[in-house]
Symmetry: C2
């Protein structure tokens, strides 16, 4: 057996332990993790300093360095979020349907954990803790594999969490980290069909595509977002400008940020200047169709076909005029990534058509796409945002980390 | 574009049509299918005769010939089952949760179709119709790919269904059949990530493994069943004998039939002869552990390690003595396929332990494993039995062919 296979087999054993574990015991383990993260903060900071040193040496971009960096405050925040997960309701054991059949069999459907969840992510150390504790609270063992840029920080986090849970009687393998950060290590984890029930990749389009092409275990795709805001001919134009500014600029790097603005041709002459005035505040680069250029002038970069598919993750926005809600729907279903899509309109019929016909995890009427988030949806926490339709769609909280089991009670029935 | 890519793209278009289609329209299409199957029965019978001719020429086994063969009665039965699917409640459009957030956003979670469902199956022509109509009723487009042995029958079924739905205004591509029965055709369908939302393979372990190894689209594994009956020391022995006889013999070829009998050592001397007397009625070959042989004598074939993992699909049963419920659970979790598992006992504590700790889609207390079936569970019809934990587990009815979409209504909210 390879090291990773051994980790897989141990995770299956740990998952069996967790599947019959009560809420109180799981919460005790989570409390032990939160306490240990605070009391052993110095170890994490020392490990993170090594990662930061290497990051500087390799000229990592300031934005990525910021995501990688840990401070005492950030670690306290992470420990606090562990306590918040402990306080969430436990989804496991709930009976979500029960029927008694004419033959007297009682058939109950009960929520159970998925089992072993693998998570492959990039260089964000906080994800290590977030993912591990959401899995543990929902009764799942986790196998984490992070980018090599954060390996020292993540090893420290993993060691601390593993020791904390063993101190309250849990197998260490309820949480595990792949310490081999090579591509081979990631590939082996993606193909561990004997041990892994679900794999959740968290990261950019490159990571997601690698996983879809290489994984043999079941995958939940997350996070790639080419999101649109469509401002309809019946829109409140001020509202439209406020919404596109927020959807583009409040945090351009995240997956629920807007990448394309679609505008109904009728109101474009009035609306585009309003929108531009807002977007200029953050110096947003506009890449527009010829009609947009004709209205807004030479500051608009000509958009190419490629722009309609881009997830810029930056202060860049593609802009296109469309005839009406039908053409907007067609454009979104053609170029979108089924993440978050918004219509701004006072016309309820157009809104209804849009939310029904647009094929996406979250469809908004008169609100910013930026709300697609576990916290904003009231799930308490999220492990990612699913952009596929199988198993889970949209923000995934504890409920989305469960499966079901049928429990059938009889008195000797045969068929 | 290849032929199969074109079929995929057309299915996506058809799925968009179906996703906004009301229940009444879908039921009208189903009624048209049922009527056409009856009125064009002669075409199906003629096509099936070609398949049967080829089957005889290639010395197909009588059991498989029986599965392949269609008669007027069978086609009437298939048409009738289409009408039963039409009568089932439509899962689409149901709001399964709604919250109003402190910021005034109303967040509804609505049931929507999965989109395009691909189904790869073996030489059972009735599956063509079953699968297509369950997908259509739940608003999904289907792309079917059957074994070449049934291609004439399935082509006739597909043509009749496609013409029936176009007669009531539906795009033909709501239902499509891959007419290329080569392995290359199947492989292309498994990798159609741009068009296929979910792939459901229906068939034996060989087919399922090929799909798991080769698919790039999301897969729901179905049907491989190495099911166990454990007769506990506190069991009603008559009930135990009746249940193992039913679980093994009522239909040995199906996935919910039992393959291994586990018996608590304490009661083995009393129970095994009782069980053997029942199983002898159907000349079941017993493959036992040394202790089983010692009790039942030389008619028992010595079991090898391999026998604990076999899905015989035949009148053969592996038999093993275990110490207690704990050892039974361990054996099942080691060798089982997470399908259906039963305990026979009057000890409620042992039963509770068993149903909680055994990791399977369906766990039975004092009943036969043979009940794991959409009809028996009251789902009305099933498209397969999922043995994975992601998305669906156990019998999959219409509800399991759905996804969700979040619909968010605001009044200009930004984040």
């Amino acid at each position: 057996m390879t090291t990773i296979q051994k980790q897989g087999a141990a995770a299956v054993e740990a998952a069996r332990f967790l599947s019959t574990c009560g809420t109180e015991a799981k919460n005790k383990a989570l409390a032990a993790i939160a306490d240990a993260l605070e009391s052993r903060m110095d170890e994490v900071l020392a490990a993170n300093a090594l990662d930061m040193q290497a990051a500087k040496k390799s000229n990592m971009s300031p934005a990525l360095q910021d995501r990688l960096s840990l401070t005492a405050d950030r670690i306290t925040g992470i420990a606090q979020s562990v306590r918040e997960v402990a306080a969430l309701p436990d989804p496991i054991g709930k009976v979500d349907s029960v029927v008694t059949r004419p033959n007297g069999l009682e058939i109950k459907r009960v929520k159970v954990p998925l089992g072993v969840i693998a998570i492959i992510f990039e260089a964000r150390p906080n994800v290590t803790v977030d993912a591990a504790v959401l899995c543990l609270k929902s009764g799942n063992a986790s196998i984490l594999r992070s980018g090599k840029e954060a390996i020292n920080s993540n090893t420290a986090f993993a060691d601390i969490m593993r020791e904390a849970i063993t101190s309250v009687g849990f197998p260490a393998s309820c949480i595990d980290l792949i310490r081999d950060t090579s591509h081979e290590g990631a590939n082996e984890l993606m193909c561990l069909t004997d041990y892994v029930d679900v794999l959740i990749p968290r990261g950019g389009a490159g990571l997601i595509n690698t996983v879809v092409q290489n994984a043999r275990v079941p995958v939940i795709k997350t996070g790639v977002g080419n999101c649109h805001v469509y401002v309809d001919s019946k829109a409140d134009l001020e509202m439209g400008a406020k919404i596109i500014f927020n959807a583009k600029c409040s945090r351009p790097s995240v997956c629920n940020a807007a990448e394309t603005l679609l505008v109904a041709r009728d109101i474009a002459k009035d609306f585009l200047p309003l929108a531009k005035a807002e977007l200029d505040k953050m110096n947003v680069e506009l890449r527009g169709c010829p009609e947009t250029q004709a209205i807004l002038g030479s500051s608009v970069v000509p958009a190419t076909e490629d722009d309609w598919s881009r997830e810029y993750g930056d202060y860049i926005l593609a802009v296109k005029l469309v005839k009406d809600v039908h053409e907007a729907i067609e454009h979104i279903n053609r170029y979108g990534t089924m993440h978050s899509e918004a219509i701004v309109t006072a016309d309820n019929e157009a809104a209804e058509l849009f939310v029904n016909a647009v094929d996406a995890a979250a469809v908004y009427h008169n609100a910013s796409t930026r709300f697609t988030d576990g916290g904003e949806f009231g799930l308490g926490a999220e492990i990612g945002i699913s952009t596929q339709k199988m198993h889970a769609r949209g923000p995934m909280g504890l409920e989305q980390l469960t499966s079901v089991k049928y429990v059938i009670s009889g008195s000797g029935q045969v068929r």
